[in-house]
Amino acid sequence: MELSLGLAFRAALRRELKLAWRRRGDLLHPFAFTLLVATLFAIGVGAEINLLQRAAGAVAFLCVLLALFLSVDGLFRPDRDDGQLDHLLVSPVPLPLLLSARLLAYWLVHGIGLTLACPLLALLLRLPAEQLPVLMLALSTATLGMSAIGLIGAALTVPLKRGGILLALIVLPLYVPLLIFGSGTVAAQAAGEPIAGALYLTAALSVFLATLAPFVAAVALRLGMD
């Protein structure tokens, strides 16, 4: 049977997207989580609308970042538990290719999906309306890089019983540049400065990470499984 890499990539991507669609109810949880964190933040800050409004862009960014992090552990764990991961490892298709399909699907479902929570977050946090498109642009770009880092972290911790706090320790420090450039994009817009520089840096970093992460994650999975 002819083995086409493009075919394998599409099949892997379709599988991930179909699974996500079948379990679409699960997506409500991270969605609700972002709103919950925003609510808690607003309550914690108190009735100071000015303070809330000034921090809104960064807080919305962080809410999505944390919600995205929470779903990282699910990247490989269910597949390990039902044996799917072993099939991935013995497949004749190069593992990084399958992982990049998985990364793409994860970003489309979780990254873009959570970015769609932004209008509601903007309402809750009183984000100035003109910052909303910039926030969504920056987030949809930055979540690609965050997903890539998550892929590495999940691959490194999948042999363990639980990712938990260790996964946070591995993944969150690596989020720092993406947070700086992504949230810097929104801050630049708020300050009336051009946003292109920060946005391009976010995009460049995301593409860099998304290109290399499948290879690193493939090495990590093979290390953990042999």
Binding site: T157, L169, P173, V176, P177, A187, L201
Partner: protein
Amino acid sequence: MQRFWIWLSRYASPPVFYRTAGLWRPWLGWATLLVGGPALIYGLFFAPPDYLQGESYRIIFIHVPSAWVSMFAYTAMAGAGAAALIWHTKLSEIAVVAIAPIGAGFTAITLVTGMLWGRPTWGAYWVWDARLTSELVLLFLYLGVIGLASAYGDARRGARAAALLSLVGLVNLPIIHYSVRWWNTLHQGSTVRMFGESSIHGSMLWALLAAALAAKLYFVWSLLGRLQLRLLSAESEKAWVARELKLEPSDA
């Protein structure tokens, strides 16, 4: 080149390395004391006070050497990690796990001394200065490597996972460093940015360099000791361990 690899593989073999490290360690220990002791005594008590910062600048004799070692150790750890992943040598796997706590310790010392120095100089223990922030992220990277290495039940697999993570961290460190600098200039245009180094004078410089050398020597001394212990525990079944420790051969 061939001879180099033969030489390297000979010294990377656990029994040879164990014995060689044992020969080197006393010399390194004494060298650390002889270089570091006078440097610290001069720096902390006799060096002239700084014209601007007064006595508080003296902490750089601890702060700056620790900071240098904290970054040097991460590079060394990632180098050992690369060797572990490429050649699967046991010694380099063990080196990754052994370097991490030393590097984390120096990073913590750098942060604490930086905070102590910041209080009189900047008026606050913590300022979101670009260097302090990168150093803090570096500490988290170290903690991640330590945590990952110890979370695996099997020590070798844990060490290899930690090796891979240290390489990922090495690639990300420059990105983190420059992004933090960019962020710092974006948010606070004119932070007080007068690190002691620029205002240093010749009489203090040699003490600082000696302290830095002593910190490096200590790093190697401590590393060799840790490697020895970890080799013993990793190879506890082997005959050379019993010979080395002069244990009675067990009947089992």
